[in-house]
């Protein structure tokens, strides 16, 4: 007979029976066996696994001391030698959802153990942690507890046994963001027609691409005092010095670059070129100022309409750029621009 899997259950202060909001600062603690909803979890796991311990931590403590808290929680979990960790379910509770996601991520990365949690699909924990943990969808309140546990338990058993996890639509977890190609039974055209019929007849269907929830970026306040401002020229059009000395790629660029332009009154075709591979860059190569309007900026400088142009061009190639890398470039450029004392950016894209 297979050995029983060892499961550790993570709960917040409320579900762990310590207290309500008044105990949200409770430090990580461990109790033997299942606690609160863990009893239902154990029932659903049946003979295949044992909830050997429950680790409980206050939601405030975890979010306000995240590194230390996760270290403590991981230590308590590791001491139990589990095969799999189950966190929550968190339903719609935001801090709890984020905590469950963070604990699962930490368990996977630091302890190299599988982990699963469950929460309402709009819980902020989902977008933050979907790539780092298996998250099953749950209702928005604990009314759904029995339904969720009935799904969490078999999923935990699957993970604990090291079984392969199939696609999200079959296995019932929220897509992690990873996509894989495969050949199936029906053509794309047939699936399009069937999905449309499902929609028209109000039958449930699952889109093969789930739309993300992108952050709302609040624009910076309107500029005033432009005559004193330092303006930086930043571009993703792929304008670089002739010869592309730093060998930036025409697509999927792995770098962004900074080139001195303080000594220049214009971007001449003799000195600059364009290497972006996603559009016909011939016109930019004929006159790089179509992408980087240095000549006009110099006029504005001379007329006193802007303070000064930053003596560096920030440039990269935007073609087929993975979003995560673009985010990283944005953060790095922003940090560098701030250090350069820039007030505003003239940003050209193609």
């Amino acid at each position: 007979m297979a050995t029983k899997l060892r499961v550790v259950h993570y709960l917040n202060q409320f579900f762990g029976g310590i207290g309500g909001e008044d105990k949200a600062d409770a430090r990580p603690a461990v109790k033997a066996g299942p606690v609160g909803p863990g009893v239902l979890l154990q029932k659903c796991l049946g003979d295949g696994a044992e909830v050997v311990a429950t680790v409980i931590c206050g939601d405030s403590y975890l979010s306000e001391h995240i590194d230390e808290a996760l270290a403590e929680v991981s230590k308590l979990i590791a001491a139990q030698r589990p095969d799999v960790v189950v966190a929550g379910p968190a339903f719609a509770a935001g801090r709890y959802g984020v905590a469950c996601g963070a604990v699962c991520k930490s368990v996977r990365e630091q302890l190299k153990l599988p982990a699963v949690t469950a929460m309402f699909p709009e819980n902020p924990g989902v977008d933050l942690y979907r790539r780092h943990a298996y998250i099953l969808p749950a209702g928005n309140t604990a009314i759904d507890m029995a339904g969720v546990m009935a799904r969490l338990a078999p999923f935990a058993l699957k993970l604990g046994r090291g079984e392969a996890v199939g696609p999200a639509d079959l296995e019932g977890y929220l897509p992690t963001g990873m996509r894989r190609n495969e050949f199936g039974a029906r053509s794309g055209a047939e699936r399009m027609v069937e999905m449309l019929l499902d929609r028209l007849h109000q039958r449930p269907f699952m889109s093969e691409v789930q739309l993300p929830h992108y952050d709302q970026v609040n624009p910076a306040a309107a500029l005033s005092g432009l005559e004193n401002a330092t303006i930086a020229l930043v571009t993703t059009s792929g304008v670089v010095p002739q010869g592309n000395p730093d060998r930036i790629e025409s697509w999927r660029a792995t770098k962004w670059l900074k080139y001195p332009i303080g000594h220049l009154q214009e971007m001449s075709a003799a000195e600059w070129t364009c290497v972006h591979g996603g559009y016909d860059n011939g016109y930019i190569r004929l006159d790089p100022q179509r992408a980087v309007p240095l000549d006009i900026m110099r006029e504005l400088e001379r007329e006193g309409k802007v303070g000064r142009v930053l003596p560096y061009l920030y440039t990269t190639v935007g073609n087929v750029q993975p979003i995560e890398r673009a985010r990283r470039f944005g953060r790095e450029m922003a940090s560098a621009l701030k250090q350069d004392g820039v007030t505003a950016v003239l940003f050209t894209a193609t």
Binding site: P167, D169, G188, R199, L200, V209, E324
Partner: protein
């Protein structure tokens, strides 16, 4: 309009003294095909080769793939080699299981915006990604005058390929078909949902476009009968990124049209096809098109719409704007897309989207890399086209083994949904 599509199955092809079809074997008069393919000063030569399933053959520089078709009465390939009369009714003969593949390196056309490399492997791992690997193909490898005007070159090779496609199908003139399918939009119960098929097709400019009865599809939508698409009125002239080109063959056998036809009168009422333009170069024209397409769909009293797309980059914006306007007109949509999910599948698949795009079918991630093996024979050219130097594999010779993205495999993620290839969320 009633189209009687007479299918003649081809299971083998071989060169022979005359062109004839007997028991599924098509023998081909090679010299006659070569002579027919010339006759235009832009073409300096054509090599006629055969590529059949299982061979260690790689076809490169693929320009288009056309299914042999012949109409005993009426226009075969209207405009190009016959008058632009209305097609989509009467009898059409088709050779199933084969394609005429045009290939060739057009001088001066290989830059980042010119013809892109497009590869078909007849065996091995790459073959999985192309329906042509399971077909008997006549490959026409064209050579062009060195200073040829590129659109003239592609026009010449297009007409030549069509002449050959018609010539081969004419071998069935006096034969009995293996099957006949009737395509007719008969009366459908009023209670069935009315569904329209919206097809934005690549139309970026002179070199990359889609022809409807010989003229480029525009952003003022064209209402067509699905039979016209099935009867070769829609011709691909998209020579850009290989994976999401729609070969003419796939228009002649358009899969969404066939899937809607299967359900017509049973689950839905297929009311028509609206053609639009993909890769519109200005925001204002994109907006205009979306408004016009939604208007036509509404005039058809559509309740649902399938919306595919063609090509990539801001082509997603064309599709998504159409989706948004059609949804706002009260019509439920499903979109067919391909993905840019990075080589490991970790990136969000779409270039852009609208919140109304809640029902999406994916034909797969074009950025996946596969290992192509060495092959014994290469057709279509001697070196990879220079305009694809972002692909590391293209430093190699085409007969060698190399890694390549699905991106460069011909029609591997064609958004019409012809194959079962798909992207799945994990």
């Amino acid at each position: 309009m009633r189209l009687e599509m007479a299918t003649f199955r081809v299971t083998q092809i071989a060169f022979g003294a005359t062109t004839a079809l007997r028991n599924g074997v098509l023998t081909i008069d090679r010299a006659a095909v070569a002579a027919m393919a010339l006759g235009d000063s832009n073409l300096t030569g054509v090599a006629v080769e055969l590529a059949v399933p299982g061979e260690s053959t790689r076809i490169i520089h693929v320009i288009d793939a056309i299914e042999p078709r012949y109409k005993p009465a009426g226009s075969t390939f209207p405009w190009f080699i016959s008058p632009p009369d209305l097609v989509g009714s009467g009898v059409t003969h088709r050779l199933e299981g084969m394609a005429v593949i045009a290939a060739g390196d057009i001088p001066g056309a290989a830059d980042s915006q010119g013809l892109k490399e497009a590869i078909i492997d007849m065996s091995g791992p790459g073959a999985l990604y192309s329906p042509f690997s399971a077909m008997c193909n006549v490959v026409l490898q064209f050579s062009f005058a060195p200073d040829v005007h590129k659109p003239d070159a592609t026009a010449a090779c297009r007409k030549a390929t069509m002449r050959v496609a018609r010539y081969l199908a004419e071998a069935t003139r006096d034969l009995k078909p293996d099957a006949v399918d009737d395509y007719e939009l008969g009366k459908a119960d009023a209670s069935l949902p009315r569904v329209v098929y919206i097809m934005p097709t690549m139309s970026e400019g002179e070199l990359h476009t889609t022809f409807l009865y010989g003229m480029s599809v525009t952003s003022t939508p064209a209402l067509v009968h699905p039979n016209e698409v099935l009867d070769s009125a829609l011709i691909s002239a998209d020579y850009w990124i290989a994976c999401h080109r729609s070969p003419t063959h796939h228009y002649q056998n358009e899969p969404v049209i066939r899937a809607l036809y299967k359900r017509h009168g049973k689950d839905l009422n297929f009311v028509g096809v609206i053609l639009g333009r993909s890769l519109i170069p200005s925001a204002i024209e994109k907006h205009r098109q979306a408004v016009q397409i939604a208007k036509v769909a509404k005039m058809l009293n559509a309740q649902g719409a399938v919306i595919t797309m063609s090509n990539g980059g801001h082509a997603y914006a064309d599709q998504m704007l159409i989706c948004q306007h059609v949804e706002q007109a009260g019509i439920a949509t499903v979109l067919g897309v391909d993905e840019y999910s990075d080589t490991d599948g970790s990136d969000f698949p779409l270039v852009t989207y609208v919140p109304e795009a809640t029902a999406i079918v994916s034909v797969g991630n074009q950025e996946q890399i596969i290992q192509m093996p060495a092959v014994s024979r290469v057709l279509g050219g001697e070196r990879f086209l220079a305009g694809n130097d972002y692909e590391v594999g293209f430093q190699k010779r085409p007969e060698e083994a190399f890694p390549v993205g699905l991106r460069q495999l011909y029609a591997s993620t064609c958004q019409l949904g012809y194959t079962t290839h798909r992207g799945r969320a994990y």
